[in-house]
């Protein structure tokens, strides 16, 4: 029988697995610092976002709506809608980490980002199985390089941002970032259908006040994506019978 993997070993497995992701996290943190500063936020506010929210896409979404002077509640609702996918992450980690002490689960929730989730989920499904404390240690290991680099990159971005003259016009950095995040996620017909629907609806709803068109379009995209997936699954099951 194989010796059990100790929590300290699992921690370092997490660290090693997460290191390549820091290359992705760094430019996004940097860009958020720069764009946030250009938009008129001060150091504490930009760092407040990266420290309290730690979710790049939703931070950029909030920033974009704030430069359009959208009402506070619309900014918050739209930005949180971007983060709804994390409820799915939470649900998929719950069977593995649910028995851990409450303070550990709270800390895990705080550091649950795309990268830490994806790594941990893969490891928990793989062999050899980890004990509960090793699972928790693996997650913290995966977060150890990613989360501090997110803070540091944001700070570096703020310091660089104050040195960039406003006439450079970084207004197009956010749209490019979002398109770059979306394109690789268009893995299936359902994803493409969801994106196409939401773009069409948001353009048709351009007249709606307070950026409500965004929430309507997001909802429409989700419904269409889910419906395409349901029909395709049903068809595959029919074919299998």
């Amino acid at each position: 029988m194989q010796p059990e993997i100790r929590p300290s070993q699992a921690f370092w497995q997490g660290v090693t697995g997460a290191l390549p992701f820091t290359i992705v996290v760094m430019p996004f943190g940097l860009l958020f610092g720069v764009v946030g500063t250009e938009a008129g936020l001060d150091l504490a506010q930009v760092m407040g976002f990266s420290f309290l929210v730690i979710a790049g896409a939703s931070q950029f979404a909030a920033l974009q709506l704030m430069t359009e002077n959208a009402p506070t509640l619309i900014v918050v609702a739209s930005a949180l809608a971007v983060n709804l996918r994390m409820a799915m992450y939470s649900a998929s980690l719950a069977p593995y980490l649910g028995p851990a002490p409450l303070w550990q689960r709270a800390l895990i929730a705080y550091m649950m980002v795309d990268q830490t989730y994806a790594l941990s989920q893969q490891r928990y499904e793989a062999a050899p199985p980890l004990s509960l404390s090793a699972k928790v240690a693996f997650f913290f290991g995966a977060a150890a390089p990613v989360v501090p680099i997110w803070y540091a990159a944001t700070l570096a971005g703020v310091l660089v941002g104050t040195a960039i003259p406003p006439e450079w016009g970084l207004d197009f950095a956010v749209p490019i970032t979002f398109l770059a995040l979306t394109a690789p996620a268009l893995r299936t017909v359902a994803h493409i259908g969801a994106a196409f629907t939401s773009v069409t609806v948001v353009l048709l709803c351009a007249g709606l006040p307070w950026n409500l068109g965004l929430l309507v379009a997001g909802l429409a995209g989700m419904v269409v994506g889910a419906e395409i997936e349901r029909r395709m699954t049903a068809r595959t099951e029919d074919a299998a019978e």
């Binding site: 918050v76 939470s90 705080y110 197009f172 770059a180 939401s198 269409v224």
Partner: protein, 108 residues
């Protein structure tokens, strides 16, 4: 941007609390009960539905040009999507978009 410091901190705080509650939801409060299939199916598409919807009006009617469509922004958006899709990498997509934006901007 026309917000008071209080409003900005309110946005940061509400987003922080809301995002934490989303992440903590099943791990912390609901326990081990599995999510219904229909809900998981919808949650899977939140990111691909919201992000492009946020961007589309900015690409077609950029505020920086007063809402007139402009070649360098349209070309940059197309290049970002094409390269991001082909390489499956956000970083390559951003680089492609950035250089297209600067390049076409310099030509026009």
């Amino acid at each position: 941007m026309n917000y008071t410091d209080t409003q900005i901190w309110l946005i940061v705080a509400l987003m922080g609390i809301g995002t934490f509650l989303i992440r903590f939801s099943f791990l912390g409060l609901v326990g081990n009960r599995p999510l219904p299939d229909w809900l998981l199916r919808h949650l899977r598409y939140t990111a691909v539905a919201i992000l492009p919807a946020l961007v589309a009006p900015l690409v077609l009617w950029p505020p920086a040009t007063g809402g007139t469509p402009e070649a360098s922004r349209l070309a940059a958006a197309a290049a970002t999507v094409a390269v991001g899709y082909a390489t499956k990498s956000p970083i390559w997509g951003i680089l492609a978009g950035f250089f297209t934006f600067v390049g076409v901007g310099a030509l026009t």
